[in-house]
């Protein structure tokens, strides 16, 4: 059925989204899928070192990650994203990679803390100098350790990135 949009009251609320009162919204699939993805990011409960404590603090009552729809899941198979919270050592790197590989696509990586970003103060024989050497990192959150607010900002940036996505994960719609 074709609707003649000139005669009925379609209101364009933002670019690419039109609303027909009371409750009909016309928009693209991309927008709907991206909106639903970014509104419920589930990271893996996966702490490596010091940053994990701040990650826990971000999830607890005071900072409350739940209000962004961010709920920690115990299994990588139920998650969308992994927060690399802490130092990645050479012994741990294959495990981290395996956890990442177990996450169903589309999947995202947040490198939390100086160690995960660049190795931090640990320029030693057993530390991986940044987890971007073996993972496709989406957001880098600096700090040693970053405050929960900083992690929050990182997750908001990740949400902004997901909002703009078009072709990368189009196969998995």
């Amino acid at each position: 059925m074709l609707i003649d949009t000139s005669t009925i009251g379609l209101v364009e609320v933002e670019e690419g989204t039109k609303v027909l009162p009371p409750n009909l919204i016309i928009t693209s699939i991309d927008k709907v899928v991206n909106w639903s993805r970014l509104s419920s990011i589930w990271p893996v409960t996966f702490g490596l070192a010091c940053c994990a404590i701040e990650m826990m603090a971000a999830g607890a009552a005071h900072y409350d990650f739940d209000r962004f729809g961010i709920i920690f899941r115990g299994s990588p198979r139920q998650s969308d994203c992994v927060i690399i919270a802490g130092t990645v050592t050479k012994k741990m790197a294959p495990v981290v990679r395996r956890v990442f590989d177990q996450i169903p696509e589309p999947r995202y990586v947040v490198a939390m803390g100086s160690c995960a970003c660049s190795g931090g103060i640990f320029r030693t024989y057993n530390t991986v100098q940044g987890c971007d050497t073996f993972l496709p990192v989406d957001v880098f959150v600096p700090g040693c350790p970053p405050r929960p607010e900083t992690l929050m900002e990182g997750m908001i940036l990740l949400q902004e990135k997901m909002r703009k996505e078009q072709a990368r994960w189009s196969m998995w719609r």
Binding site: V44, T45, F46, G47, L48, A49, C50, A52, I53, E54, M56, A57, A60, A61, H62, G74, P76, G86, T87, T89, K91, M92, V95, V99, I121, F122, T124, Y125, N126, T127, C144, P145, R147
Partner: protein, 396 residues
Amino acid sequence: MEKVEKILETRELNVNMGPQHPATHGVLRLVLEIDGETIVNVTPYVGYLHRGIEKLGESLTYFQGLPLTDRLDYVSAMSNNIGYVVAVERLFGIDPPERAKFIRTIVGELSRISNHLLWLATHALDIGAMTVFLYCFREREWILDLFEMICGARLTVTYPRVGGVRNDVSQEFLDSLYKFTEEFPTRIPEYETLIDKNRIWLKRTVGIGVISAEEAINWGLTGPTLRGSGVQYDIRKHTPYDAYDKVEFEVPIGTNCDTYDRYRCRMHELRQSNRILKQCLEKLPPGPVMADTPKFTLPPKDFILKDMEHLIHQFILITKGPTVPEGEIYVATEVPKGELGFYFVSDGTGKPYRMRIRAPSFVHASVLSRLCVGHLVADVIANIGTIDIVLGECDR
């Protein structure tokens, strides 16, 4: 008949637990040998967080090595800093001023409270009590705010320095701390109401992970893990450092040597720490917070910015490190997890020839193979929780 027996034989099953597991407190890996649901043998594998801190310490001066200790036991960074600076001070042969000693005792005890709160939060979460986690983090955030008030950092503080502390505490901090010490004892019963007589909690903790006093000593356990077995051993009491000889406190011990008694010990320690805090607030003397020993301690920042001699002095101390007497020293301090020892070998230069860390978590991780045997698979989680390990310290 022989053939049938061969087919029907039973074998132990090997199950891998970790390093990615929500309840292993980091990156501990355990290989469980199980017979049905019963544990036959547990082998802990450590080293997934080995960052080479001991080796790194050899290439840094005594001042520069301090921030590494924050990352050892990141749950109670202040206590680790204190352990390091006390050891280095004994090696240098300097004595910090009284006020600095009391401030260190204050931050050390705050750190102990925050550590025990986090321990209770995660231990209860692993066993299945979610609400305790949220309650404990509420008070922990309060303590972290207090840390922020002193030095600006929440977790990795690096506040105590060789020869004292970095800066004096403000009156605003002391007022907030007083408010905390008044309020905190009313919060402890809140956690206790939730789990103390909870039937599930009792089922999961009473009689789990029993280790006798003699065995606990033989395994090298320290801290609340040892005291739960009824051994009255506390380094704060027996070889006091900082201002612990000027305050009164009790060392709580358990009787049944199980997970529940270790939990009770830690809850009593929360109260005792609060008591120490109150006494420190009363007795806090005025005066400087940094020892006046120019050979070993940095000059005050105000002087460096105005004065050429102090600038040169600071430059030499930072680049070359202090001139240290040759020799070796082992100093142990009581961190929330147990006995943290620093062993330094000095060859007379500004950098340690060898820095060895005796981490309680490393010793405690080994006892898992003794604690878990004979219990069910679910009790492994309770046992990991009760020995209170942090892998950053264990693997170093």
